[in-house]
């Protein structure tokens, strides 16, 4: 028992020792902080959509079809006379949710599989990695298109499709990190005292591989938001009357010369939020891994 007790602090040491510098290094980068703030702003706006949106998101108005930007409608109106600003705010909900949920799906399948592959090695690793390689070899967007066509075109299915298509990256990343961590002393020690594999995996290995996974996840949210927009652009994501930036762009492309504002704002919103996630991810990467700086 005493041995187990000594192994615990060893396992705990690296994270606690790193914790403060990570935060400090993150806060020391203005771009990272700006990224975090913009993300936060978008999240708050999305959550408070019913309160901040000036109009009803599905409130149609036949006498205000495709009206340009004005004081009444800052971002103009769309093909059904709905307020574009309102649609962008509500669309943010869908787009952010798509980014976060699809990455959560990818994480919840990919990380355990990666842990298993890296930790156990052998035939399990072999099979999992070949399947991962095979999935990675299939073009991401094609896989996502086929999956969402299969599941049926709506937001939930688009998120599942993106999540599954993104999953292999996390399997590979987690496995790679596990391989480097599992030979370290504290893991060896935990193993030596007879801890069950599951316990070692969750208590000793996982916390030490989280850094790169968090970084990758943040960047994956950015690409997943674009992926959702791409699927919606092809008519496979969010379906009306509900709004998402991608589906707004899909509609807007038909009116590009008469009502460019319909395409401008949702597109800019995507750029901005993806940019913010990229800044955040970059900042986190530098904070977790000072060698890169």
């Amino acid at each position: 028992m005493t041995l187990v007790a000594t192994s615990e602090p060893i396992a705990e040491v690296p994270p606690t020792r790193r914790a403060r510098p990570i935060r400090d290094r993150f806060l020391a980068r203005p771009s990272a902080v700006i990224g975090a703030l913009v993300v936060l702003l978008f999240v708050v706006i999305a959550l408070a959509a019913p309160l901040v949106a000036p109009y009803d998101p599905s409130g149609t108005n036949w006498s205000a079809i495709r009206k340009p930007m004005s004081w009444a409608h800052w971002f103009g109106t769309d093909d059904l006379g709905r307020d574009v600003l309102t649609r962008v705010i509500w669309g943010g909900r869908a787009s952010l949710m798509a980014g976060v949920v699809s990455v959560a799906i990818a994480l919840s399948i990919g990380v355990p599989l990666g842990l298993i592959a890296g930790f156990f090695g052998g035939a399990v690793d072999m099979i999992l990695m070949r399947v991962t390689d095979a999935l990675l070899a299939c073009p991401f967007l094609i896989l996502a298109i086929a999956l969402s066509a299969f599941l049926g075109p709506n937001l939930t299915n688009a998120m599942i499709a993106i999540g599954i298509s993104r999953m292999p990256i996390f399997v590979r990343l987690t496995r790679g990190e596990v391989l480097t961590v599992k030979v370290e002393e504290f893991v060896e020690a935990a193993r030596a005292v007879g801890n069950p594999p599951l316990r070692i995996m969750l208590r000793h290995v996982l916390p030490n591989v989280l850094g790169p996974i968090i970084v990758q996840a943040t960047l994956a949210i950015a690409t997943s938001i674009i992926a959702e927009a791409s699927l919606s652009f092809l008519g496979l994501g969010q379906q009306p009357p509900a709004a998402s930036w991608g589906s707004s762009l899909n509609v807007a492309k038909n009116y590009i010369s008469q009502a460019p504002w319909m395409a401008l704002w949702p597109g800019l919103a995507i750029c901005l939020v993806v940019l913010a996630f990229n800044l955040l991810g970059d900042g986190l990467r530098d904070a977790f891994d000072p060698r890169e700086v």
Binding site: R130, A134, P139, I142, I145, A146, F150, I226, C271
Partner: protein, 316 residues
């Protein structure tokens, strides 16, 4: 080393086999009856039955897989249900288009990404660094299809400078071909340029800190020589590898770009095929792309070996 490479190559085979299964499963996954989709507006039952029979759609799945994989082994990927063209022929026809687009995009990415990366690393903290980083981040953050639409609006519709679409074969009219490819290549290459720039910057930063650079500086070499001969040359190793992988990514990124600019390449072929349930085409193209991707990965490994003597020594 030969042994390593051989082993590395052999690993591709089971992966490929799994790819064929995944690719085939796409057919099971996709809902809707291709025969119905293809029978046209009139949905004549006799026609539907005929299509099912002709493409073995009435057979159990393992049998269908056997038909398909048997053909694949013989180099026959089947026939498009829609146009009745052999899939291999379609690939041979569309591949050069997408390869041209991807290569132009890559050229663009390299021409912009690497110099920008070098400058921003060497002039770290300067305005140039800031601008390069900002532009790079935007390149990563702009959805390609949106950029494409906006470019068509401005450059083609408003200014009338470049055609909005309409691919012309380079053998027919090289100049016109280039004109029709500029915007798509730019749109497709934008994200890759950003990736190249960021990686070049990172690699340059670490290379410039290495001992040999310090030694070179100590010897009193001109800074430009230090940067190019000692810094860049070493920094390029990971960047080249990345380039090969990016090329694989471009093949898949071409999907949306080709859709927006209606370029008759791989991406358009496959999206149309998914929507019309032209299974043979979907399967053939995905299989081909996956194989190409695996080979590019292999090539990246080889390149990495070729340009990195230390690694060569290590593996023996």
């Amino acid at each position: 080393m030969t042994a390593y490479l051989l082993r590395r190559g052999l690993v591709c085979l089971p992966t490929l086999l799994i790819v064929t299964v995944i690719v085939f499963l796409l057919q099971v996954l996709l809902p809707g009856d291709p025969a119905l989709a293809l029978a046209g507006e009139d949905r004549d039952p006799a026609v539907i039955a005929f299509i099912r029979q002709e493409y073995h759609l009435d057979q159990p799945l393992p049998v269908q897989y056997a038909y398909w994989i048997g053909g694949v082994v013989r180099g026959d990927l089947g026939q498009s249900i829609k146009t009745k063209t052999p899939v291999t022929e379609l690939i041979a026809e569309k591949l050069p288009v997408t390869v041209e687009l991807s290569c132009l995009a890559m050229l663009f990415a390299v021409a912009i990404g690497i110099p920008a990366g070098v400058v921003s690393a060497v002039r770290r903290g300067s305005v140039w660094d800031w601008v390069a980083n900002a532009v790079g981040l935007f390149g990563l953050s702009i959805p390609s299809f949106w950029l494409g639409i906006m470019l068509i609006l401005v450059v083609s519709v408003d200014l009338g400078w470049l055609p909005a679409s309409g691919y012309v074969s380079p053998f027919e009219d090289p100049l016109q071909n280039l004109r029709s490819m500029i915007m798509p290549a730019f749109v497709l290459g934008a994200a890759s340029a950003a990736v190249m720039m960021r990686h070049t910057r990172g690699a340059m930063l670490s290379a410039m800190r290495a001992d040999y650079v310090r030694t070179a500086r100590a010897k009193g070499l001109v800074e430009r020589v230090v940067v190019v001969r000692h810094g860049l040359r070493n920094a390029l190793i990971p960047v080249i590898t990345l380039g090969a992988l990016e090329l694989g990514q471009l093949l898949s990124g071409a999907v949306l770009t080709e859709q927006v600019f209606t370029i008759p390449g791989f991406g358009k072929l496959i999206v149309d095929a998914v929507f019309t349930r032209d299974y043979a085409v979907v399967q053939g193209v995905v299989l081909f792309t996956a194989t190409a991707y695996l080979l590019l990965n292999l090539a990246a490994d080889l390149l990495y070996f070729a340009v990195n003597p230390r690694l060569r020594a290590e593996v023996g």
